[in-house]
Amino acid sequence: MSTVKLTVNGKAVSAEVEDRTLLVHLLREQLNLTGTHVGCDTSQCGSCVVHIDGKAVKSCTVLAGQAAGSNVTTIEGISKGDELHPMQAAFRDNHGLQCGYCTPGMIMSAIDIVNRHHSQGSGGKLDEATVRHELEGNICRCTGYHNIVKSVLDAAGRMKVAQAAE
């Protein structure tokens, strides 16, 4: 057992974990942040994607200990109070989810995709093909991706507006 200190959704956290504990299990089982899901054993499905220091990471491939000292953001930490993150709102408005199981991981990946492309300036324009390619690490079985892709493109615009306003 070791003590791991990290920041999760802006709060300092200290947890006793077995050395083999994966970050996803720390989040779900010890911190009760059950929005991050486990959908496979092989880091293929992306249901467990969270942000570590602002970058999308599959939390089932990271040991809790490896996340020590980092800033972890989960699906529970992206809205401002009752105000949804633009990506969350876009998923709702475009029917980008059905059963909702892959959705948290999908949203966390999608935010990272948009952030990376926005940070590339005008050359970072997102199109459908790019979104489809970059969502490759996340599997959805319900939506056929059609509305997820729409959601991400819609959110890219909303996030740009939000960033410009800040």
């Binding site: 929005g35 699906i75 892959c102 459908e128 979104v131 969502l135 319900c142 939506t143 056929g144």
Partner: protein, 779 residues
């Protein structure tokens, strides 16, 4: 239509909790004193269990107990059952081999559980499972249909000699043979319908909780039909009495059929919770899902179509071998029979049909209903035959279909189904227009000049949805009725709860069902709440599968609504001192026609519960229930056309366009309907291009993870162009048909027809991987 009523694309009420991570799936639930189960599963496809030594495991840290198959049998827990009786052509009943929840003597597929470790933590259970020593004596295995039906094949169950479960027929053999004898042309095809793994993103999970003081059990489970689970667990499995068992299916992360059935893990979690006197939780991982969730499809078929000299179809003859795996899962027997062969008429006027279906046991995971259940297999047979026929007869594929479409309704097929309504020509027209069918030859020629192989494939599907009616399915061997129940409760303050026996696991019931109430009463959907998925709250239900939630479940709600409205009108009339016949409901108010007198719904509700001033003799309260049993199946139908290009150097397929024109009757929420179609198309295209469960000859599942089984990802699929034509279903008052399975039923044939058109070789099996396509091109 109000802004939130029927026909409005209202955004979903349930989404807020899913997009904020507040959904509550089974694995999210923690109970006081909860223990964790880890199953010990057979690594062999067929073996005798000689001994199980758990002595070392029992001493390991945190281990509460290790329970075996022998113990569950000794405790008289029943064997798993198949609930649909099929009779062979010789009159004998189907041959059901015994399926204990954990195998005490013989294992028949890789992944079958033989024991379970219960421990304080998941990791402790997993660690201890490593220390359980199971001594197996391996037996020869039959890993596919061909191996299982060979003379001298390994025998799975003593009850089923030759591994044949049933040999069943439908239709008129002699008349069909005569049609073939008289035919001007005969088209035949050998078809493999590849085995699929449903792969809902949420792996199955179960928590059993035994309350010793009350002798009461609770099961939290990933189920599409909690009431049926309770019924079967109590009536057949002897786990608990029905009134002593509560089944809760909270948020469920996709089902696609795989979560209809009762599984051993649910039985064991309940049984074990009584053994260890603590809650027992099991959460499957993806490998367990691959090995133990019921698989889908897996047919070998020989199909022939007879035509007269005018290219009118005169007969269809089909012989299908269906693999049901090692045991008969809950609905398995009905899938290749009454859900498959009864749809073999497709959209066509076929005077003579004869089908023989032989279901067999193999040493593989049990096979049962998966999205579409039998209908995708039927549609694939018919639509591959039609495309093949068009090429052989050298006529346009769309025109050959149109020439043979059923145009008069109702239409009785030779294989039971009576289609109530449809307009197949309208769907085909719509799809052809959307894809610019007429312009295709020019596009194909242009692609060819650029060195690319372009193809176009048509698929005109029909399905039978909204299953029941109960009387009909009962006469065909179903063990249950397939009605639905509902209750509408208007609370004293005017908010409304709808209790439904349908179960939502992604379909958006929490929104669409409220839209019905919003439409009828003119209240916002925020004032209405759905209650579902809990047998302690909802009186009864048959669950969600077979696209039955709207046609059957929502109609039950409508029936309850009508009762509520009738009573509310009486109360309003009494309060307003008007005649009941003069009361109309508008915008949440009960108005006296032709006057300005009205009373708002909350006041009517309050009056019903205060009961200070009700009509003489009226029972207080404002809640009503209804059971609804439909009079027929519903028949959604449509036309899908796919245009694609094949890279002859790599065999890789790329979509140019995919159009879908569906007739689902009335659309409650078009946005949700289209989302359902998108998902179905992805699964149908997945079957055509990517997915396939592969066993080696020893019965090992080679594709048992997402690294080996190719799931469709965003980059594999196109965006879809959808359109809707509408014939209102006459069989239910809402005119709805069902949309959940359409995409999966119609898409596969469109894709394979398009690829075979592109490459000029009709011999191509699913999944049409680049490797297979390359070989089909280059020989």
């Amino acid at each position: 239509m109000g802004v939130e009523g029927i026909g409005a694309s209202v955004v979903r009420k349930e989404d807020r909790r899913f997009i904020t991570g507040k959904g509550r799936y089974v694995d999210d639930i923690k109970l006081v004193g909860m223990t964790y189960a880890h199953f010990i599963r057979s690594p062999h496809a067929h073996a005798k269990v000689k001994s199980i030594d758990a002595s070392a495991a029992k001493k390991m840290p945190g281990v509460v107990d290790v329970l075996t198959g022998k113990q569950i049998v000794d405790d008289k827990v029943g064997n798993l059952i198949c609930g649909w009786a099929i009779t062979s052509k010789d009159g004998s009943p189907m041959k059901m081999g015994a399926w204990p929840a954990m195998a005490p003597e013989t294992v028949r597929f890789v992944g079958q559980a033989v024991a379970v470790v219960i421990a304080e933590t998941k990791n402790q259970a997993r660690d201890a499972a490593e220390a359980v020593v199971v001594n197996y004596e391996e037996l020869p295995a039959a890993a596919d249909i061909r191996a299982a039906i060979k003379p001298g094949a390994p025998q799975l169950h003593p009850e089923a000699p030759g591994n044949v479960i049933y040999d069943w027929t439908i239709g008129e053999e002699a008349a069909t043979d005569a049609a073939f004898k008289a035919a001007a042309n005969v088209v035949s095809l050998d078809i493999t319908n590849n085995r699929l793994v449903p792969n809902a993103m949420e792996p199955r999970a179960a928590i059993g909780e035994y309350n010793e003081a009350e002798e009461h059990f609770t099961l939290y489970t990933t189920s599409q039909n909690p009431h049926v689970a309770r019924l079967v667990l109590s009536a057949f499995y002897n786990i608990a009495q029905e009134h002593k068992l509560r089944v809760v299916a909270p948020d469920v992360g996709g089902g696609f059929g795989s979560k209809i059935f009762i599984y051993p893990e649910e039985m064991v979690a309940l049984w074990a919770s009584k053994k260890v006197r603590r809650p027992v939780k099991w959460t499957g991982d993806r490998s367990e899902a691959f090995l133990t969730d019921a698989h889908g499809r897996d047919h070998l078929t020989k199909a022939e179509l007879a035509f007269d000299k005018d290219n009118k179809i005169t007969g269809l003859r089909v012989k299908t071998y269906a693999n049901l795996g090692a045991y008969m899962s809950l609905f398995s027997s009905s899938v290749p029979t009454y859900l498959y062969a009864t749809l073999l008429s497709g959209q066509y006027n076929i005077p003579n049909i004869f089908a023989e279906v032989i279901s067999v046991y193999t040493n593989t995971t049990p096979v049962d209903a998966y999205r579409g259940a039998g209908r995708p297999e039927a549609s694939f047979v018919v639509e591959r035959l039609m495309e093949t026929a068009a090429r052989q007869l050298k006529v346009d594929p769309a025109e050959l279909r149109r020439k043979n479409f059923i145009t008069q309704f109702p239409h009785q097929t030779p294989v039971i189904m009576a289609y109530d309504i449809g307009d197949f020509g309208a769907s085909l027209d719509s799809a052809m227009k959307a894809i610019d069918y007429a312009g295709f030859p020019a596009r194909k020629a242009k692609a060819k000049s650029e060195g690319k192989l372009r193809g176009l494939g048509v698929s005109c599907y029909i399905e039978a949805c909204g299953i029941a009616p109960s009387k009909a399915v009962g006469s065909l061997g179903a063990g249950v009725g397939l009605w639905e129940s509902a209750e509408v409760r208007v609370n004293p303050v005017g908010t409304i709860e709808i209790l439904t026996g349908s179960h939502s696991h992604g379909q958006g019931h929490e929104t669409t069902f409220c839209q019905l109430v919003a439409e009828r009463l003119g209240v916002p959907i925020s004032q209405v709440q759905i209650v579902h998925g809990d047998t302690d709250k909802v009186q009864f239900g048959m669950g969600t599968y077979g696209s039955r939630s709207a046609a059957v479940g929502l109609t039950a709600i409508l029936k309850a609504m009508e009762k509520v409205e009738a009573k509310a009108k009486k109360i309003a009339a009494h309060q307003l001192e008007a005649s009941e016949n003069d009361i109309v409901i508008e915008n949440g108010e009960f108005k006296v026609t032709g006057t300005d007198k009205s009373i708002a719904l909350p006041m009517v509700a309050l009056a019903a519960y205060t009961a200070h001033n009700l009509p003489d003799g009226m029972e207080p309260g404002l809640k009503e229930g209804a059971f609804y049993d439909p009079t027929n199946f519903t028949f959604p139908a449509g036309a899908y056309i796919c245009e694609l290009e094949v890279d002859s150097a790599t065999g890789k397929t790329s979509f140019v366009n995919f159009v879908a024109a569906d007739d689902f009757g009335r659309l409650i929420n078009p946005m949700i309907v289209e989302g359902q179609v998108h998902g179905g198309l992805a699964q149908g295209i997945g079957q055509a291009l990517l997915e396939g469960a592969v066993y080696d000859s020893s019965g090992q599942l080679v594709t048992a993870s997402f690294m080996d089984y190719t799931m469709p990802r965003a980059d594999d699929l196109p965006s879809f162009k959808l359109s809707h034509t509408t014939t209102l279903c006459p069989g239910n008052p809402l005119g709805v048909k069902g949309c959940g399975e359409a995409g999966a039923i119609g898409a596969s044939a469109a894709v394979i027809n398009a690829i075979t058109d592109a490459i000029g070789n009709n011999k191509l099996e699913m999944p049409a991987t680049p490797d297979r396509v390359w070989h089909a091109i280059h020989g």
